[in-house]
């Protein structure tokens, strides 16, 4: 049984965020996206087919310490590779943040068992 929690860097209260989550895995994968105020996603899927998506959505961020909890009961090890980045304007100020997470939950090292893409902007619409 493996569980891992990832803090999503710089996704702070007041920003507007969207997320897309996909799985292609033999194991059941449970994902929670939450902060100190709100749980935005609590989804579960067991399928080697990428569609339908595990979760898609958007929301204003209401609290602090936004985090993703990945729980894969049948897995003995969750291996992450991820990318966090800033969306910068030409003058160097920040327009938003991005975050991609890829998970390997077994041994084939394809890192496609869980894929999460998130973006947060200071402005919506």
């Amino acid at each position: 049984m493996a569980t891992k929690t990832f803090l999503v860097p710089n996704f702070s209260a007041g920003l507007f965020m969207c997320w897309d989550m996909y799985t292609q895995a033999g194991y059941r994968i449970n994902v929670t996206l939450k902060d100190s105020a709100t749980t935005y996603v609590n989804a579960s899927k067991q399928s080697t087919s990428i569609m339908p998506a595990l979760a898609e959505g958007n929301s204003n961020i209401n609290g602090s310490n936004l985090q993703i909890i990945v729980d894969i009961p049948q897995s003995s090890s969750i291996q992450p590779s991820l990318n966090a980045y800033t969306i910068a304007r030409p003058d160097g100020s920040i327009a938003g943040y991005g975050f991609n997470l890829n998970i390997e939950d077994a041994t084939d090292q394809d890192y496609n068992d869980l894929y999460i893409s998130m973006t947060a902007w200071k402005s919506k619409g």
Binding site: F6, P9, S81, T86, G92, S93
Partner: protein, 508 residues
């Protein structure tokens, strides 16, 4: 050959939980480190967290356990043990000085400025065993930096901000960091600052002077990715100050900088206490912590009273510009600091007691692997079939580490040090000459420290073969009425009774 680079993050779990609470450790700090480990994996860096207070882990590394988090000797031995076991390319110290203490080195200039010790991360960058003498740490070889929170602050926000910066930092072209830039100097030091700014950026066109300018800087000025500051600073003071004559106006204020500087920015401050991680106790955190909270990728500053020459370049001028120049050339924060330390030793040998204090007091904050500026294209561009860009980059990193280690080891044998000898006999004629020089420079109540030059084996060999046998005399004095810049020191080189050079140093 491993196809990844190794980074070790060292922190004290008990001290983290004691300061931030178990809930914050589990819910905020640990998940943020998990994110950093995953992010580093995407950069071909294998990152491992080591808690020196965790006996089980330390036993597997054959390294001594830290039983008392405040014990400097234990922390030095533990980090040495971890380093020797894992031979990392990068080493981060996670936490402020209440999590992993800086090492208290005896201040070689204490007779002048009265500071008994210099808080320093320099010993962690060196393979030499625990010592309180700076002289034992003139051959740094390790790429290290400190991911610093705010000392004594129970909120993990500042610590997590620096971890988040390490996660989300992406290297940008050097041109973005070179133009526009923000350079700020006390008006009285504009000559030295123009030289530093030109050395760093190729021009001094944007250098700001205080007075008349500051502390309300424009948004574009604050958003410049590189900041260089040569001003006064004070103990536990969240402001830096300019000078023209006897006036010391505020040049930069943490309150005004908060939230204003760029994510991924870099900064170096020559100011006294510019890198002091003081506990604000509910008040305003220092400028160092403020830059880091804003997302600075690397900040270089001094833990206590710093010095520079009244004219020309030396001490704080050198180490800060070396640091920024290497960062702009694509070095990581930790490597830029290691190279700056090595260059300072090499350039100033034989080192006087103020050079030694400078070496000890300047530290770097941010993750050691933070690389804000893209490095020039590497060997992969030459089209080696079957070898990936990442493999070439990792091999080149190993080459650089080897070269830096060789240079550090060489410095141990090739560097001269002017060591204070309280029993040194000074002729009456020479004493009078030194006091006359002090009088010429307006140094009040001058005291004299005579420091014969000693050094490593190669230095001593060259010293004897060339018969360049110097004694460095430090003539120091204090202007007690001064708000800043109250400590003065005249560095006089004497050879065979003849004064061959002198340089006036002033505190920042």
């Amino acid at each position: 050959m491993p196809n990844v680079s190794i980074k070790v993050i060292v922190s004290n779990k008990g001290a983290l939980i004691n300061l931030y609470g178990l809930n914050n450790f589990n819910q905020v700090i640990d998940p943020s480190l998990t994110t950093l480990i995953g992010t580093d994996q995407g950069r071909f860096i294998q990152t491992r967290i080591v808690y020196p207070d965790d006996a089980a882990t330390m036993n597997t590394l054959n390294a001594p356990v830290v039983a008392n988090p405040a014990d400097e000797r234990q922390n030095k031995a533990a980090i040495d043990g971890v380093y020797n076991a894992l031979n990392p390319d990068y080493l981060d110290i996670l936490g402020a000085i209440d999590i992993i203490p800086m090492q208290s080195l005896i201040n070689p200039a204490a007779a002048n400025d009265g500071e008994a010790t210099v808080p320093s991360d320099l010993p962690y960058a060196c393979a030499q065993a625990y010592s309180t003498s700076v002289n034992d740490f003139i051959g740094p070889t390790r790429v290290i930096a400190r991911i610093a929170g705010i000392t004594g602050d129970a909120s993990p926000a500042s610590l997590v901000a620096s971890i988040n910066t390490a996660c989300s930092l992406q290297a940008r072209p050097a041109a973005k960091y070179q133009n526009p830039y923000f350079a700020l100097s006390a008006a009285v030091w504009q000559g030295s600052s123009r030289t530093s700014t030109t050395n760093i950026f190729g021009n001094a066109n944007a250098l700001q002077l205080s007075p008349p300018s500051g502390p309300n800087w424009t948004n574009p000025q604050m958003l410049s990715l590189t900041h260089f500051v040569n001003c006064h600073g004070g103990d536990h003071d969240p402001q830096w100050y300019g000078q023209n004559g006897g006036g010391f106006p505020v040049a930069e204020s943490a309150q005004l900088v908060a939230g204003k500087t760029a994510h991924g920015g870099i900064a170096a401050a020559e100011c006294c206490y510019g890198g002091q991680l003081y506990a604000p106790n509910g008040g305003q955190a220092g400028l160092c912590n403020t830059y880091l909270m804003n997302g600075a990728a690397a900040f270089c500053g001094s833990t206590n009273i710093a010095y520079g020459p009244a004219n020309g370049q030396g001490n704080a001028d050198l180490i800060t510009q070396y640091f920024l120049i290497d960062l702009l050339n694509g070095a990581s924060a930790g490597r830029a600091m290691l190279q700056a330390r090595q260059k300072l030793v090499q350039t100033t040998s034989p080192m006087n007691i103020y050079d030694l204090k400078t070496l000890a007091q300047f530290n770097v904050f941010g993750s050691s692997s933070n690389t804000p500026v893209q490095m020039a294209a590497h060997l992969a561009a030459k089209g080696i079939t079957g070898t990936s860009d990442a493999e070439v980059a990792i091999a080149e990193r190993k080459d650089r580490r080897r070269q830096l280690m060789v240079r550090g080891l060489e410095l141990l044998t090739s560097t001269g040090i002017a060591e204070h000898d309280p029993n040194h006999r000074l002729s009456e004629a020479l004493r009078n000459r030194l006091l006359a020089l002090a009088d010429e420079h307006g140094i009040p109540g001058a005291g004299i420290q005579s420091c014969p030059v000693v050094g490593g084996s190669n230095f001593l060999l060259a010293h004897s073969l060339t018969q360049a046998s110097d004694t460095i005399h430090v003539v120091h004095g204090t202007k007690p009425e001064a708000t800043f810049g109250k400590y003065m020191a005249l560095i006089v080189r004497e050879r065979g009774g003849i004064v061959i050079s002198s340089e006036l140093l002033l505190s920042k």
